[in-house]
Amino acid sequence: MEISNLTKERIHDYLRAGKRFDGRGLFDYRDIVIETGISKNAEGSARVKIGDTEVVAGVKLGVSEPYPDSPDEGALISGVEHLPLSSPHFESGPPSIHAIEMARIVDRGIRESGFIDFKKLCIKEGEKAWTVFLDIYSINDAGNLMDASALAAVAALKTAHFPEYDKDADKVIFGSLTDKKLPLTESMPITLTYYKVNNAFILDPISLEEESSDMRISIAMSRQGKKVIINACQKSGEVTVAKDELISILEKAMDKWKQIEPKVAKLIDKK
């Protein structure tokens, strides 16, 4: 949806002065609220609010034949849907390219960080393994659905438990959850997306800022031992970025990640 030039210029004016409509600094996040266990029939679920932005994520598990190229591993299938109820700009129908892209960025962060121990999802090599279905829905789009979705995904996975599985009948008994949690590692991915608006970069945009942005860079990072590793990146949008600009964003992201990660971990684990 297009934003009026007048509003756009106003946002540019504000950013030139290092200010934002809601009084935050350029790289300040809005308050993050995480709730888990928000949908009883899901194996794991979470609601994430970043300011007025809200998304929910749910995990369902199923048993299927592993992919031939990884016979001793389970699988992850992630989807993002931008529900029409969450914004006047979203319409029903097949997922838009933006939703597809978002799902793929979330998926890459989780997969590449090694957050899920896929080998432990194997039931019988070459024959049976668990598939993790991770679905993320927008409930209210007030900007930055990208980072909210990635966060909700992690929170939902963290709370997921296996359902009972009847090996002989080869049937998952949905509705009866075991105490066994999904096999996760310490490498929890968190995604930070920097939006370029005019000549300024900002984090966690509100809708107006997001709509007047021409380019964004998503960066998913995780802790591997003592190091923080970059697991997934994506530059989106028609505008190019200079090399020194890109490097400075990567450096900023690394610092911000180190601040935000312990806070997020606490928010998820508190439940």
């Binding site: 890459r108 970059i230 697991n231 989106s236």
Partner: protein, 231 residues
């Protein structure tokens, strides 16, 4: 064992043999082939032409549309024909990578369609596709500010390599493989494509970006030569 020697014997900063041919689809307004070794992409451009349905038109400028896909037999295990989530995403990042080099302000309400097909895949297909598409746009006579050149950088175990092939992409020993497709504009040196998939530390990522810039210069040279040699 660390990755001290590339599986196909190349130097760490060496690209596979590149091939670029302009003018391969007579029906198209512009077309080109670009290959990195066994990875072969062809691109065809149609337009500027009237855009339908009308509500998609932009009265200020023409729009660029890209469509990337792999032929079903281009990969060892047959790919089901038709678009996938992967091809949707690659089409989009390709469009983004190309949009700043073209100037479509003189063609309001029109569309320029760029179709990219992968004939044979051995990794780095999106990069080959972008390189072919840039040539095809030039061949079609679309007003352009400059050319974009693309290459994939890899971190295989702990080494930065240029122009990743399939074998390297699937490398699992040590730290495994990290794939970083990038594109640079030839003159302004701006970055038009930046994706990353794997695990890398910040300092080494800076080296990878530098390696990409150097490698893109080599790609650009091949593109330039191909444009001088239009059939």
């Amino acid at each position: 064992m660390s990755y001290t020697k590339r599986l196909d014997g190349r130097k760490f900063d060496e690209l596979r043999e590149m091939k670029a041919i302009v003018g391969i689809v007579p029906n198209a307004d512009g077309s080109a082939l670009f290959a990195f070794g066994d990875t072969i992409a062809i691109a065809a451009v149609y337009g500027p032409k009237q855009l339908h349905p009308q509500h998609l038109q932009d009265p200020r400028r023409g729009i660029l549309r890209c469509n990337y896909d792999m032929l079903s037999f281009s990969v060892p295990e047959r790919k089901k024909p038709g678009p996938t989530r992967r091809s949707h995403e690659i089409s989009k990042v390709t469009q983004w990578a190309l949009s700043e080099i073209v100037n479509l302000e003189e063609f309001p309400n029109t569309v320029v369609d760029v179709h990219i097909s992968i004939l044979q895949a051995n990794a780095s297909t999106r990069c080959a596709g972008i390189n072919a598409a840039a040539l095809a746009l030039a061949h079609a006579g679309i007003p352009m500010k400059e050319i974009v050149s693309s290459v994939s950088i890899g971190k295989i175990d702990d080494r930065i390599v240029v122009d990743v092939n399939k074998e390297e992409e699937e490398y699992e020993e040590g730290a495994g493989s990290t794939d970083i497709p990038m594109a640079f504009l030839a003159r302004s040196k701006k970055i038009a494509l930046f994706q990353l998939d794997g695990g890398i530390e910040l300092e080494q990522l800076k080296d990878a970006i530098e390696a990409a810039e150097q490698a893109c210069k080599k790609v650009y040279k091949i593109q330039q030569e191909a444009l001088k040699d239009i059939r």
